[in-house]
C-alpha cells in the first residue's frame, strides 16, 4: 500500500502558482514545496509541471534544481519526475557508476512490471540516445554481464499460469548451482531472466518445499563474486520486493555515514506503491518505526520531505 496522502481536490494551476511563489525572491520556501509536492501523486505532479510550463514558460524541474540543494534537491528531483523517466535516470546513473550501483538496475529490471520496465527503457532511449541494454552490456563482462543484460532485456509473460512440473525441474537446476554441484550459469541465467514471475515464484516455493530452506536463505552469506551477488539480489527482488527493500533501508540507515542515495531511492520509488508494507516489515524486524530511524539519521528539509512521503502527518 502507498504511504503518501493526497487531498481530495487539487488544482494544478493553484499548485503551480504556489510553487512559483515559494521560489521567488530571496531564498526558497522549502516547506511549501514539501507540503505541495509531498502530497501529490504521479498524475497530479505531471499536471502541475504542465501548468507551470504553460503559465511561466519555464520547466519547473529546472527551476527546482536551481533553487534547492543537496540531498533534499536530489530527492525532490527524483520525486517530481514521471516514474518511467525517473527509472531511466536511476538506471543511467547506475550503469555509468561503480559496481555497487548495479543493484539499482537489478531492482528496476526485476521489481517493475514488464510494462513499467518497457516504459523505462523507452524513456532511456529518448533521454540518452542509447538503449539501456547497450550501456549495461558495454560496461560489464562475463556471466555478470549475461545476467544483467538478460534481466534488463526481458519482457516477461505477465499471466498467472504456472507449469508445476517445470517449477520442479527448474528448482532442481537452481539447487544444483547453489550447492556448487554445477557451474552451469547459463541455465540459471535462462531461468531467472526469461520465466514469468508467477512461474519463478512457483519454482522458489518448490525449492523451499523440497530443501527446507528458502532459496534466498541458501544464497545468503558472503557471495563469492559479483555474479553471485547479482543472482542473490535478483532472486530477492522477484521473491519478495518488500523484504528486499526493508533490508536496503536497514543497511542504509545502519551504515556509518548513512546511505542517503539508497534511502531516497527506496522511499521515492515506493511511496506510491508498497512503502506501507515495507514500513510494517521494518518495524517488525527492528522494533522501531522507520519514521523514527529516518528522523534520527537525516536532517533538515530532506528529513521533512522523507517523513512526508512516509505519510507522517504531524511534522
Amino acid at each position: 500500500m502507498a504511504t503518501i496522502t493526497v487531498p481530495d481536490h487539487t488544482s494544478p494551476v493553484e499548485d503551480a502558482e504556489n510553487l512559483r511563489k515559494a521560489c521567488e525572491g530571496w531564498g526558497t520556501n522549502e516547506n511549501t514545496i514539501v507540503s505541495i509536492l509531498g502530497h501529490r501523486n504521479a498524475v497530479q505532479r505531471k499536471q502541475i509541471r504542465q501548468a507551470y510550463e504553460e503559465i511561466y514558460q519555464e520547466d519547473l524541474i529546472k527551476r527546482l534544481e536551481s533553487e534547492l540543494k543537496g540531498e533534499f534537491e536530489k530527492a525532490v528531483y527524483r520525486w517530481i519526475l514521471d516514474p518511467a523517466d525517473r527509472d531511466a535516470i536511476l538506471a543511467h546513473v547506475a550503469a555509468r557508476n561503480a559496481k555497487s550501483d548495479n543493484r539499482t538496475i537489478i531492482e528496476i529490471a526485476c521489481i517493475r512490471s514488464p510494462e513499467e520496465l518497457l516504459a523505462a527503457k523507452r524513456a532511456y532511449h529518448f533521454r540518452y540516445k542509447h538503449s539501456l541494454e547497450e550501456d549495461v552490456a558495454s560496461r560489464t563482462t562475463g556471466d555478470f554481464r549475461k545476467l544483467l543484460v538478460a534481466l534488463v532485456s526481458t519482457y516477461r509473460y505477465d499471466g498467472d499460469e504456472v507449469d508445476v512440473s517445470l517449477a520442479g525441474s527448474e528448482a532442481k537446476i537452481l539447487h544444483n548451482m547453489i550447492e556448487g554441484k554445477s557451474f552451469n550459469h547459463e541455465e540459471v541465467i535462462r531461468i531467472l531472466s526469461t520465466r514469468s514471475k508467477a512461474q519463478l515464484n512457483a519454482t522458489f516455493n518448490r525449492y523451499k518445499d523440497t530443501h527446507g530452506a528458502s532459496i534466498t536463505k541458501s544464497l545468503s552469506g558472503n557471495p563469492a563474486d559479483e555474479f553471485s551477488e547479482a543472482l542473490c539480489i535478483a532472486i530477492q527482488c522477484i521473491r519478495s520486493p518488500q523484504k528486499y527493500f526493508e533490508k536496503v533501508l536497514r543497511n542504509a540507515i545502519n551504515k556509518v555515514g548513512t546511505d542517503e542515495d539508497a534511502i531516497t531511492r527506496v522511499i521515492v520509488t515506493r511511496a506510491e506503491k508498497d512503502l506501507k508494507d515495507i514500513k510494517d516489515l521494518y518495524h517488525k524486524r527492528n522494533n522501531a518505526s522507520l519514521e523514527h530511524a529516518i528522523s534520527k539519521d537525516t536532517s533538515g528539509d530532506y528529513k521533512i520531505f522523507l517523513l512526508t512521503l512516509l505519510g507522517c502527518e504531524e511534522l
Binding site: S153, R156, S196
Partner: protein, 287 residues
Amino acid sequence: MALPGDLDALTKAFSGFGVDENSIISILGKWHPEQRKSFRKGFPQFFREDKRLFERWDERHIAFLEHEFLRFKNAMVLWTLHPWERDARLAKEALAKGDYDILVEIACTRSSEELLGARRAYHSLFDHSIEEDVAYSVNDSNRNLLVALVSSYRYEGARVNEEIAETEAKTLSEAIKNAEKRPIENEEVVRIITTRSKLHLKAVFNYYKEISGTTTEEILASALKGSADEKNKQALTRVIVTQADSYMKEISEEYHKQHGVSLSQKIEETTNGNYKDFLLTLVARGD
C-alpha cells in the same frame, strides 16, 4: 487425345510452386474419362501401374499437391494477419522446426516497436514469453545469440558514436579471424550485434566491409532457383508478404541489379496460379 500444350500446362500445374488452377479448370475439367485415363497412363511420375490393374496415384504426390494448393491460402493468411500475430506465429513455428534463421530474420528486420508487438502477441497466443521458449528450446551454442536477438529493444534514433563503431568493427574482425571459436560464441560479438542500434551497426559494418551475412536478396534468389527446397519456397512467401509494406521496392531493385532480371518476371516464370498472382500483386505494390 490431349494436345501437347495442354499436357505441358498440366505438368507444370502439377509440379509446381503453387498450382495453376485455371489450367486445371480449363483443361482437366473438360476431359472425358478416356482422356483422363490416358493422362494417368502417360505420366508415370504421378501414377503407377498397380498390380491389381489400375493407375494408382503416388501418395507422396497427392500430399505434395495438397501442399501446393495450400500455398496460396498460406500466403493470403500471412498477409491478412495482424503483423504482430503473424510474426509471433512465424516465430513459434520456426522454433518448433529449428529454423533459427527465421527467428534471426524476424528479430533483425522488424523495427523495435514491431518486434515488441510480436512479443506481446506471443504472450497472448502462447502464454509464454518468446525469450523463455527460445531459451528453453535452443540447447546449443546458438542460444545466447538467439535469446538476445529476440529480446532486443534497440535505440532507433540517429545518434552514432563513430569512435566506438570503429573499435567494435575491429573487435568483430578479430573474433571472425579467430579460428578457435565461432564468432557467435564470442560474447563481445553477441553484445555488439544484439544491443547496438541499427544505425550504429551500419557504421560498424561500413568500417568492416567484408562482413557479409545472408541478405534478403540472397534468400529470394535461392527460393527462385529451380532446385529450391521447401524451406526456400516458404521463404519466398514469407519475405514477400512481410516486406510488401516496407522494403519491397528496394528489394526488387536490388534483386534486378544482382540477377539481371526483374523479380516479377522471375516469379512469373517460376510459380503458378493464384499463388503466383497473389505474389505478383504484392510485389507490384512496390512500384
